[in-house]
Every structure is written in C-alpha cells, then in structure tokens.
Symmetry: C2
Subunit: 136 residues, 2 copies
DNA sequence: CTATATTATTTCGAATTCGAAATAATTTCA
DNA sequence: TGAAATTATTTCGAATTCGAAATAATATAG
C-alpha cells in the first residue's frame, strides 16, 4: 500500500465513537476528557495528575483545567502526597463514585453494541493491529 | 469480550498518529484541521464548505474559522457558486498548490513508516475492521 | 552540604472547537 | 404564486485545548 487511506478510516472511526461518547457524557454535564478522568479514577482509585495524564489524552496544562472543573463540581477530591509534596492525588468523592456506578455500565453497554459487530477473534485482532501502528 | 479495552487502544493509536501529524504540520504554521482541509482540496479540487466538512472532522462553525485562517494566509480562495448562491467553493491558490506539492509526499512517507509495520494483508484487514465499528 | 538538574504541576494568553441562533438562498407544495 | 420548510454557511459567546514559561519540591553530583 502507498496511500494514507488507513489513516483516514482510522480517524473516521475514532471520530464517530468520540462524538457518540461525548454526546452521552455531555448529558451528565461532563466533557469527554472529564469523563475519561473519572473513568480512570473509578477503576484505579487515587491517581496523581501525571498518572491521570497517561489515561486522559490531553496536555498537562489542559488536565489542570479539567481537574479544576471536576473539583468544582464536587466529583473529585485532591490531596497532596505526604512523601512527595509536588504530587497531587486525585480521587473520586462519594458523589463521584455514585455518579460513576450509576452511569458506567450503561456507558459500557452502549459502546459494546458497536464493538459487538466484531467477533471476539476479530476484536482481539483489531487490538493487535492497532497496537502495532500506535506504539511510539 | 465485555470491556472497552478496544476503544482505549483505538483512542491511543489515533492520538499517537494525530500528535505526530499535528506536530509536523504545525511547523508549516498550520493546524491539523487546516492541513486536512488543504489535503482534501489538493486531491479533490474545489469543494463547498459542506463537502469540506465531510473530510475535516470538525463542526461547521469550526470549519468557518479554519477557512478564514487559510484565506488570510493566502492558501485558499473562496468563490461563490453561480448556480446556488448559498454555496461557497473553496480551492487552493497557486501558493497553496505549491505548498502542498512540496510537502505532501514527505507527509505520506512519514506516515507510511508507521503503516508499513503492517503487511498489506494486515493493513486491509485493519481497514475492514475499523469500517465495521465506525459506520453509523 | 550546596548548586544544578530533574520532576510534578499550574498559570497564562492565544488558538481551536463547540453548539445554538442568525442569515440568506433555495426548494416544496398547497 | 408565495408561505413554510429545508439547506448552506456564518456569527457569537463560551468551553476546551495548547505550548511555553513559571513555580515549587525533590534528586543528584560535585
């Protein structure tokens, strides 16, 4: 192959999913980035800003803004790490926990509808191929 | 499968490519969206705003801004369609043409380095799988 | 121990993006 | 025909994102 058709298709597919998820989480009053941050905290517990940044695909300066939003909404708490005072640890508040447990399964099902157009074998193949081109 | 790992991997791969391309075209003084618009015009010739929007994955209001930027830089021209005066046709200026012919092959090669981690068979398989989950 | 480098995070101003409403031209159909 | 609906695009203000510089804490090397 010599053209960039694959990239076009990749961008289109990602855009379709992104739009769909963004639209759903906007109804909770969250941006996609905010939701991705909550998702990470929901699964991993408390995370530093840097750890969150490896999950939410935005610049660290943008993440500061997102964290501020979530704090203002009472969805996350921020505590300083005692060992290393540079680090700020983010975690879901009870309110944030509740929100995620109410919403997360619905979110997964909605996305699985799309993914289930693939057989399990196709899906793991897709993962494999994407990892190949996505690694730095 | 029951989780959203595939989406995580998809978003990561797209983000990696997006960042890489954005970084390259920023050196031309263009945003990723501006470059995608130029790419479309370079391949298809004159396009209406709506036609461009189907290529560049942003809201029409955002595209208006992008088009304005490109016009100010002297990269595109805008003419009204004679048959339907609502339509504004965008096309590359000579300067825009020159820029794209200088830059486009390099852009393709840089991206093909990544894509060539896949065999031709794997690449067309990837296209096929992405189309399946990406269609509306 | 101190100066220097590194790491974690935020601040700042500018650029980009969005959605909703506005504008303007065309089409439909009663 | 001519009012109403549709289509193409832009305007507007707000939200999000960015990169570069600043801040602050820790680690390292001499």
């Amino acid at each position: 192959m010599t053209d960039l058709k694959t990239i076009t298709i990749l961008f289109r597919a990602t855009n379709t999913l992104t739009q769909e998820i963004a639209h759903q989480v906007n109804e909770l009053g969250l941006s996609l980035s905010s939701f991705m941050a909550c998702e990470a905290l929901y699964h991993k517990g408390a995370l530093s800003v840097a750890q969150l940044q490896s999950k939410v695909l935005i610049a660290s300066s943008s993440l500061s803004y997102v964290i501020e939003q979530l704090k203002e909404k009472g969805i996350i708490d921020i505590n300083h790490d005692e060992k290393d005072k540079r680090i700020r640890l983010c975690s879901l508040t009870q309110r944030g926990q509740n929100m995620m447990s109410e919403v997360y399964e619905k979110h997964v099902s909605a996305q699985r509808v799309r993914l289930d157009r693939l057989t399990p074998h196709e899906e793991s193949l897709l993962q494999h191929l994407l990892k190949k081109i996505g690694l730095d």
